[in-house]
Amino acid sequence: MEDYYSTEREFKKHHVTEVNKSVLEVLDTVMDPEIPVLSILDLGIVREVRVQDGKVDIAITPTYTGCPAMHLIEMEIRAAMAQSGLEANVKTVLSPAWTTDWMREGALEKLSQYGIAPPGRIASMQHADTATPKRIECPQCTSSNTEVISEFGSTACKALYRCLDCREPFDYFKCH
């Protein structure tokens, strides 16, 4: 399981207590409806998985409190588990609060390729409140000559930026 969350130091304290590899493989096929290149494991929102007697208890945590995708994600988890013959009970936990630092390393690369500038690691920054890395690279041309248009973008988790070199606007996945 360490492979799944190698970037999250607190992982062992809070996460999966009983691991079933095939369950995790199924969870890795449940994609974020807004960012379909990321699975819910990429996002780091799966907090707990317990398998017992053909039933699986899954705890997920919201990225943002008002994220409308959470309800859909819950339904998709149940559907994906049902296809594997497992009955899933999905519950939401709030604490500890989700942070972009829980996103898998590979997820950042996937975001970038999808055209969304990935968040920096907050753990390596000084001001965690609304942490923004000094330089955000344009996912189109990799220039660091970029500026923010709005801190609130097309979804709760993204800000809107523009590249001053290639002039393309792009989404930046905010540190949270």
Partner: protein, 252 residues
């Protein structure tokens, strides 16, 4: 653990603040001064509605077996709402919306940090979740206070006018209602009066950068926390509750 009526009232106070402000910000949907700010305000509204849902779900669970999140949000009468008068103030022009947001976020910056240490585990978890969102909201509001205050003659004038108009509704932030006092004694919830110094410091630094004057009036209007609302409240509820009143229990 004791489940006092005070706790229900306290949770409803926080929930009603979030719902009513979320509804107000949602009124800007499609009417923002520019597309990016239209999106920003509705994004913030979404955070508030999400927070309201978590709080109403909690309140419904400790209230009575038959109460539900929707019933608490949509089927109560105006004197049963416990939100601050500040959040029910009409949107006015963009400056009024910005000022309202700024006054509240400047308060919530410390409030949720303190609430995180409450002995009520659910409130603590919701506060923890709200801290980061509040930081973004506060940043947004501060930047606009500065941009408008330090902008053109007209934008400066209108920003100052909005600040002056909303000023009498800021006193209520710091008045401790009976349910807050009970929750402070029983569950270490924050004393709102203790937020004043942090709030004033934020005002001073942002208003100085914006070239705005902090109003000096001492006369303050309160009542929302105990259910005495302004005329505007009825109109918000009429719009917000219409569907549930006309078609009870309806779902999308």
């Amino acid at each position: 653990m004791s489940i006092g009526i005070e706790r229900v009232e306290y949770v409803l106070h926080l929930a009603d603040n979030a719902l009513i402000l979320g509804q107000r910000l949602g009124e800007w949907c499609g009417h923002g001064p520019v597309l990016e700010q239209d999106i920003a305000m509705t994004n913030i509204a979404l955070d508030y509605i999400g927070r309201a849902r978590m709080l109403y779900q909690y309140a419904a669970g400790i209230c009575s077996p038959e109460s539900t999140e929707d019933q608490l949000a949509f089927m109560r009468n105006e004197w049963e709402y416990r939100n601050l008068l500040l959040v029910e103030r009409p949107n006015g022009d963009f400056a009024h919306t910005v000022a309202r947001q700024f006054f509240l976020e400047a308060f919530q910056m410390d409030y949720f940090k303190a609430l995180q240490h409450s002995g009520d585990a659910t409130l603590s978890a919701i506060a923890e979740k709200s801290i980061k969102e509040t930081a973004y909201h506060f940043k947004w509001a501060s930047e606009w206070v500065i941009r408008l205050g330090d902008g053109t003659e007209i934008s400066h004038h209108r920003m100052q006018e909005a600040v002056d108009a909303l000023w009498p509704f800021t006193g209520e932030l710091f008045c401790e209602a009976p349910c807050e006092s009970w929750m402070r004694k029983s569950f270490d919830c924050p004393d709102p009066a203790a937020m004043r110094s942090g709030w004033s410091a934020r005002l001073q630094s942002v208003f100085a950068a914006a070239g705005l004057e902090i109003p000096t009036g001492n006369w303050m209007q309160e009542g929302g926390k105990t259910g005495r609302h302004t005329e505007h409240m009825g109109y918000i509820l009429a719009e917000m509750q219409y569907m549930q009143r006309a078609y009870p229990g309806m779902e999308w």
